[in-house]
Symmetry: C2
Subunit: 232 residues, 2 copies
């Protein structure tokens, strides 16, 4: 595999601490890929034959029926997809698509499963990653079943704010229609939700958001730090 990626892959959480042999096998079997914007990488309903590691860019996981499509997850450098389908040797339940240019590494699913059988440390990393993924899905589900559209936006902004170290102004990292779909609403509803949060000190200018009262937002979104915070 191209040496550009070699340096990164050892840093990936999933690979950290595995045996030299495992690392060597994985590196040898995998390939580095650059994916152009708006390219489908995985199609739901099809058996998955590669595990993917995102090195750079954003990958969107979505679900669709004949009638509609919704964004379920947004992946960044260091994330993996779709681990559960590879571990369980099953069809993908989600489609993966590049938003913008993406650099990634593909590891053949069979190879990965073989390494899993031989290296308990890798297996342990996988368990922790799957456990974390499960917990993220539960948080996301909470978000959707317990909060209104306005509250979901508020919670999203609060998370964004924390990720940016609490600066009062943040830039949306994605197009609004992607954010809308991720938050489970139509773009029109997202516009209205932003308007609705104006009273709580949220101002919008394109993709620059100013937040004067983060605590008010948190209260409005009903955020429980114990539950909403990311895992350690």
């Amino acid at each position: 595999m191209a040496s550009e990626a070699t340096q990164y892959i050892g840093d990936l959480t999933l690979i950290k601490g595995v045996s030299a042999d495992t690392r060597h096998k994985l590196l040898n079997g995998s390939s580095f890929e650059i994916v152009r914007p708006d390219t489908t990488i995985v199609s739901e309903g099809y058996h998955l034959d590669h595990l993917h590691f995102v090195l750079d860019g954003v990958v969107e996981l979505s679900a669709s029926t004949s009638e509609s499509r919704t964004v379920i997850s947004l992946l960044h450098a260091g994330d993996t997809f779709i681990l559960s389908a590879v571990v369980n040797d099953a069809v993908a339940l989600l489609s993966a698509r590049s938003l913008g240019r993406v650099e990634m590494v593909r590891v053949p699913a069979g190879l990965f499963r073989r390494c899993l059988r031989r290296d308990p440390k890798l297996l342990h990393n996988v368990s922790v990653a799957l456990g974390g993924g499960y917990r993220n899905m539960v948080r996301y589900l909470r978000d959707h079943k317990l909060r209104t559209a306005d509250q979901r936006l508020a919670a999203y902004l609060v998370r964004l704010l924390k990720a940016h170290g609490g600066a009062p102004e943040v830039t949306l990292p994605l197009r609004k229609h992607v954010i809308a779909s991720f938050l489970g609403m139509k773009p029109e509803s997202l516009s209205r939700a932003f308007a609705g949060l104006h009273a709580l000190g949220v101002s919008v200018d394109g993709d620059r958001i100013t937040i004067t009262d983060p605590e008010a937002l948190e209260r409005f979104a009903n955020i429980d730090t114990k539950l909403d915070g990311a895992d350690a």
Copy 2:
């Protein structure tokens, strides 16, 4: 631990095939419990110090805020909770409550994690279980983001029908308000959803449901067998 449970625990998917030593350690450290109806077994937000195995009865996992509560998952004999919190040594994101009388086994979380470190087979089982759990959450999320309330009920009935081997008449296994919450709606909306499905051949008499045209229901619910079916 009481011998009543010993016979069951070896059959549990999670425990299948582990070393005799692991099995022995787990059995020795765990306790058999009978839980009366409507008892809280796990509280969200608190650190989890036991892994639970359901031997009999139904356990409901729910999420709540100060304002409301929603059922996220329903567990039966053979299921485990809350595996991800135990594996990741973290607070529970969901509360667990017995619906009706429940028999279960409690394994100390620390003991379980220690066994995990020593027995790769157990670790492998855990990975598969977590992967399956993640996939179930994704299916559930699809359900909620992509389907209307009427479609969710239709999909639920189709699954129920298949679980019962396709008999045209099924009995609801739970109170309607629990089903309503699980399906993400109010009891009043569930009543209306049943009424709305009458045109597709669904008749309701208390908890006995008659379904004359399962295919029509499937089409209406937009079910994709590849994606909606349970894992192998």
